[in-house]
Subunit: 320 residues, 2 copies
Amino acid sequence: MKIDLQTVVCRLRESDDILLLTHRNPDGDAAGSLWALYRLLTKLGKRVTFKLVGKVPENLLFAAEAAPEEFEEKFIVAVDLAETTLLGEALQPVYGDKIDLNIDHHGSNTLFAKETWLEADAAAAAQLVYQLYLVFGAELDVRAAEQLYIGLSTDTGCFRYSNTNAACLYTAAALVEAGIDNGDINRRIFETKSKAYIQFEALAMNNLHLHFDGKCAVMALTKEMFLKTGLDESETHMIAGLPRQVEGVLVGATIKEKDNGLCRVSLRSNEPVDVSAIARAFGGGGHKLAAGCDLYGTLGKATADLLKEIEAALRSYHLL
Amino acid sequence: MKIDLQTVVCRLRESDDILLLTHRNPDGDAAGSLWALYRLLTKLGKRVTFKLVGKVPENLLFAAEAAPEEFEEKFIVAVDLAETTLLGEALQPVYGDKIDLNIDHHGSNTLFAKETWLEADAAAAAQLVYQLYLVFGAELDVRAAEQLYIGLSTDTGCFRYSNTNAACLYTAAALVEAGIDNGDINRRIFETKSKAYIQFEALAMNNLHLHFDGKCAVMALTKEMFLKTGLDESETHMIAGLPRQVEGVLVGATIKEKDNGLCRVSLRSNEPVDVSAIARAFGGGGHKLAAGCDLYGTLGKATADLLKEIEAALRSYHLL
């Protein structure tokens, strides 16, 4: 069931012994929102802990929280979690049907939780957690401001993407006023590339191919490229945006070769194309302009399957 | 002489038949601020025209103004102009010592104008022009908001650089509320790369060399690379930021080979290094973290000369 901010406030006031969860392989918004919510609930005098599954990108760890020891939780809150499979294989069977409250901004949210506060227009889950700081009148210390800034900035490509609305920019301004060093944070997150990344990007650019009159660009990221450069998985999120940057491209895709015939696809689009629909065709999901899915088979087969769906999508918009 | 906002308001109220100028090869802040100021003064019922020297980047032209026919100007206003040489060879002899009012945010401003409103903490000249819209109570129409947004966003690398302060983000939020499509503008300015650019970047990355324990990265951009890819000059501003992005780099430089033995250098730094001091050693200038200068000689000689100054700068900070 969907609930509003006021109901969320009541639920959080009433609850204690809280466990926080988010999606596996947490990105900046998942980790940042979870940490900031942990900090808020602690300030409110609650006993809180959290679980993060998979590696948080190294350049976000400066703002990390340490999870207190486990206890028997009485209330489970998820943030930035669109569906239960994204909890990961280990946590889904345990918590998938036990989440009391979900705080999310994904239009594709499956409303799996008992109650869901869903604001699909919010640029990031961090925007919702920031609202909770305001409503509870909690001190916005520098660390909390950093965590919220990480969420806002990473989900908007540092205020570039079209989900960057006025509320998001006002919040960013308030976070800067709270004392964060946003220039330094941006440099860590967006401006710093390891030598391995630079080498990897050069290889990837050579693997960029255009399709459908240049309206689609696909980049294959092979296991060999990872081996050759030693690039860490968590650094590849920056690669996903590259194919869409080519002039005239409406749908950009990266296809990452994983083990056991798994290919992980990241999709990015320009208006009007909704790539979350393409991702859903393969059991994935996401936002209109940024989505993802898993395909099985060789890179060649996965690419061919994906191109078929992209072509159909472009045709459905009369773009081909 | 330096003057404050209140004096600027009086001067603009009193003046008419105004000519607006900015630096040659106008970037987003120069063109955007000039256009928005032109629009403001026109709204105030003034006769105004302007001169732009050199090409405005193609992706900004969607928000361009057409300059009305020339007339005998009675008041000359410059925006975003740090020194008169930047007017360009054609305009400097004519207007260099005739500028009545300069509206600028460069700490290096030489105060050449009769009166200068200098706010060195402002992220962009556009921030100052926005303040004028507020003080004059002028309607902030969508086109003016776009022009100001172009200024703010290009001078901050789309809100990434450390000059992005709270005022800048509040202003950006207000501009979004005024109805601009910031996602679309960002895509045009920051996300769209021509095929020539992508090819050029790949070549440039192969010409990236690290010096001084990886604290300095230098990238040579040869005439041959421009010929081979057909890249337009105006697209190279994005290249200037690349060397600084390598992990551990404190000073990043690009050296662009021009005609007649001229090499144009762009410098970018991370705290604490002040590259405007390095640029000044060669007769150039700019901001602490972004500056530029011209060197004469072969690419090899220019690189060697530049590296000597960079080494001295790193030593002066006890970084070597």
